[in-house]
Amino acid sequence: MQGLNFVGAGLACLAMLGAAIGVGNIFASYLDGAMRNPSAAPAQFGNLIFGFAVTEALGIFGFAIALILIFAAPGA
């Protein structure tokens, strides 16, 4: 059943899809707001990076699951 671990690892990469949508949304919204009120934009840069980092973490959890499935699965 070793092969199924790799199938699972591939499926775990679907987490990237969600993270990509989320990160894209964050930067799109930031640009949207920044274009409307450019003078307020620099003050929100920290919030932008914080939101980006927190969203990206969810994609990275998928990566962690892929790594566990390949290198440290109980059945492997």
Partner: protein
């Protein structure tokens, strides 16, 4: 003919000399060597930049001032006045991660931050510090971070477990983020670079030319992106440290 283009080979850690402490293997590794080099570079640069301070700063001094002012600015923005004692800590974390990431950008140099044992330890240290500072400042009141104020009791039954899980996942996500970004970026670089020998083997001289013309701009672009990531991840780590410290320092939310 097979060309070995194993993208994981670059992360291999070798032992420089053996050391044993009882049953513990504390050998001096290449990873430790690169961390020592990074720290020495940092200390050397900052000592040189601040050796001859003047009111009108020279080039070196203003670089060091901008660098320090950047971190002090983050801490001031996020933590306000109570964060002041933690500026040196955040500055050290940022500088260490940044210099380690930059060293990793050079070919044949080891990226120490692409090993989870390094990043994971820094993340655990940060979260432990938050807990220690929080308990010292607020005692049992620190537990209030799990119980947001102004939430109806029925909702609290759901919100509190979520807050606890989110708190517990912080060290994991903090360490994993830096590790995964550095690992992923360097693997991508090596995979793209591996296109050149693969093309050359498949097509001979034309392949080598095509690899050079087509792949080289791609690698240059990805390398530029990696420099951005090297800075951004150090910045994110410093920023999240401040945000998490705010739980211990700031008002209950």
């Amino acid at each position: 003919m097979m060309v070995s283009t194993d993208p994981m080979h670059q992360f291999k850690i070798g032992k420089l000399f053996d050391l044993k402490l009882g049953d513990l293997d504390i050998s001096f590794t290449t990873s430790a060597l690169w961390m020592v080099i990074g720290v020495l570079l940092l200390i050397g640069f900052l000592a040189l930049a601040t050796s001859k301070t003047s009111t009108v700063p020279g080039r070196m001094q203003s670089l060091a001032e901008i660098w320090y002012g950047f971190i002090a600015g983050i801490v001031k923005d996020v933590n306000h006045a109570p964060g002041k004692p933690f500026v040196p800590l955040v500055f050290s974390l940022f500088s260490f991660i940044f210099i380690a990431n930059l060293i990793g950008m050079f070919p044949y140099f080891l990226t120490t931050t692409s090993h989870i044992v390094v990043t994971g330890f820094m993340a655990l240290f940060t979260i432990s510090l938050v807990i220690v500072v929080g308990v010292m400042k607020k005692g049992f009141g620190f537990l209030k971070i799990f119980v947001p104020s102004g939430v109806p009791f029925v909702l609290l039954l759901i919100v509190t477990p979520i807050e606890i899980i989110s708190f517990l996942s912080r060290p994991i996500s903090l360490g994993m983020r830096l590790f995964a970004n550095m690992l992923g970026g360097h693997v991508a670089l090596k995979v793209f670079a591996g296109f050149v020998p693969s093309l050359a083997v498949a097509l001979g001289g034309i392949g080598m030319l095509m690899g050079g013309v087509l792949v080289m701009p791609l690698i240059v672009g990805v390398t530029a992106l990696e420099f951005l990531v090297a800075f951004l991840q150090a910045y994110v780590f410093a920023m999240l440290t401040c945000v998490y410290l705010n739980d211990a320092l700031g008002e209950a939310h």
